[in-house]
Symmetry: C2
Subunit: 322 residues, 2 copies
């Protein structure tokens, strides 16, 4: 058996505006997807039974483009779709692939990228393909885009592969930055990145003179945030998270639930800053706690009916396990 | 007895950003303050007993700078302060001034400007001072600034005096625009304009490269909104209210309560758009209903624990009554 794991991610600053070429800063987090591969002569099986919504018995024939499922769930189907795409691309068969993940799917935390990257890394080792880490990263991006019909974030696969922090603009650059502790609040509403991207795109087409300076402001925040993070000036970093959140609200990707969690974290939770993370329209927000303030924020988020967990940033990328 | 009334106002677009010279659009609304003057030989009395929080028996000696109050309330004290300043400036005595107002005070709806303008107009008529409307407007602005120790919005006094719509940038221009029906949601939290202005000022000093494009985006919204309003394109006007609200959140003048009312109006209430109005940090939001949708929005706002009332825009300025 060969096992690999890869991390999920949060976008700290710059989501949506990045399409206009301004920088966005993302980080790998310590929630991981783990994929194991064992030989299974004569067939291919994908076992997603340990994903959040329990399912069993996915049987996939990757070459026939046909997935047999028993006891499906939306999350498991999603994972299966990504894994079978990897199997297809690598023309791999005679295998059982088992996936587990602590990353909530469709929440903007890079769950699918982590699954694709971990699957690629496990197969790479198991089959002796000798792909480099860079090749795993670019292959993962290609496969994500394939499954998502052209949509894909190079940031997600880069963070899952290389870990740490990545700054994305017209290119992707790894950045060495200190670790942060964040509290994530999850609305438990799945979001659809495509819908949110289209919403912002449409606003930009209707009101270019309004959206261009909003993107510019978001880009200025990303740049300033890099300096503040390097210098450990967390209070100011938090203030800029608040500003960035408002700008995302202005772009129309906020929701009532996200706003409630953000205000809960800032208010009773005493967060130094809070913002939605990722595409918006559901999914997650992140809050920057004061020293030792994680529990207080988590309580405030739970009282506002959010699911919550603490994460660290700057975590390790894909790796082989045990 | 001489009676005059003057309207309150809402800012539709551009609050805060107006300090950088970009345009802000405000409108007089059909909530009015009414001031009556009768002769009262030998003394001066200000009766604010019909203000929201009932009080009686204000006795004022404007020349001695001493206000005698019996049964005070914050709102009545506030009104009394403005009225006594007008009496002082005009060196008027031997009078009873009675004030009533349907405009909630300290809510960003121009209550104090309406009281000052109505008092000036009533005294102007009663004492035969022959001030022109323009003189009333500029005298009102001067007195507002005096009472508020330098702080004052020329928009508030201009709207109370002239009514209609006023576009403020480096100058004030009346604009002929169609009437809108709006639903106002009041958080019942008084706000302090000075605090909110200082907050934005401080953000601008710390992050000029972030705040300048936010102001620019708000200015672009004001300009576009003028065209949309002229052409009756209300759905697009609503969309821009939503964007403007996000930008005000970005400037840090949003609150949890305002956000709840805004989302309530947009969600269950089906508003075409909603935003906070005025300085923020409390006070009011406004929502643009679909044809006949006022009641639905009002219900949604009440369910979100807001006080609510319907208003019309573009209403008449100061006038003598009865």
């Amino acid at each position: 058996m060969t096992t690999a794991s890869a991390p999920g991610k949060v976008i700290l600053f710059g989501e949506h505006a990045v399409v206009s070429g301004v920088p966005a800063l993302g980080s790998a987090i310590d929630l991981r997807a783990t994929v194991s591969v064992v030989d299974l002569p004569g067939r291919v099986e994908i076992d997603a039974s340990n994903l959040r919504l329990m399912v069993t018995g996915f049987t996939v024939d990757p070459l026939a483009e046909c997935i047999h499922t028993v006891g499906s769930s939306r999350d498991a189907l999603l994972a299966t779709r990504y894994i079978s795409a990897v199997l297809k691309e690598l023309r791999a068969g005679d295998l059982r692939v088992t996936v587990e993940s602590r990353i909530p799917p469709a929440a903007g935390l890079g769950s699918s990228a982590a699954i694709v990257v971990a699957t690629l890394a496990a197969l790479n080792e198991h089959l002796g393909l000798k792909m480099s880490r860079i090749e795993i990263g670019s292959e993962a991006y290609r496969i994500e885009k394939l499954v998502q019909q052209g949509l894909g974030s190079p940031m997600d696969t880069a963070l899952s592969t290389f870990g740490g922090y990545q700054l994305v603009s017209d290119k992707i650059q790894a950045r060495k930055l200190p670790e942060l502790r964040l509290v994530v609040g999850y609305t438990e509403r799945a979001h659809d990145t495509r819908t949110e991207v289209a919403k912002v795109q449409s606003l930009r087409q209707s009101y270019p003179e309004v959206v261009a300076p909003i993107f510019q402001a978001i880009g200025a925040i990303s740049k300033r945030a890099l300096e503040l993070l390097e210098e450990g000036r967390l209070e100011e970093l938090g203030a800029l998270m608040n500003v960035n959140h408002g700008l995302l609200e202005a772009l129309g990707v906020g929701t009532r639930e996200l706003s409630e969690l953000v205000y809960a974290a800032r208010g009773a939770g005493g967060a130094m800053g809070a913002k939605l993370t990722g595409a918006g329209g559901g999914g997650c927000m992140i809050a920057l706690p004061k020293e030792g303030g994680e529990a207080e924020i988590a309580t405030a988020i739970r009282q506002a009916r959010g699911r919550t967990f603490a994460v660290k940033t700057g975590c390790e990328g894909v790796r082989l396990e045990g």
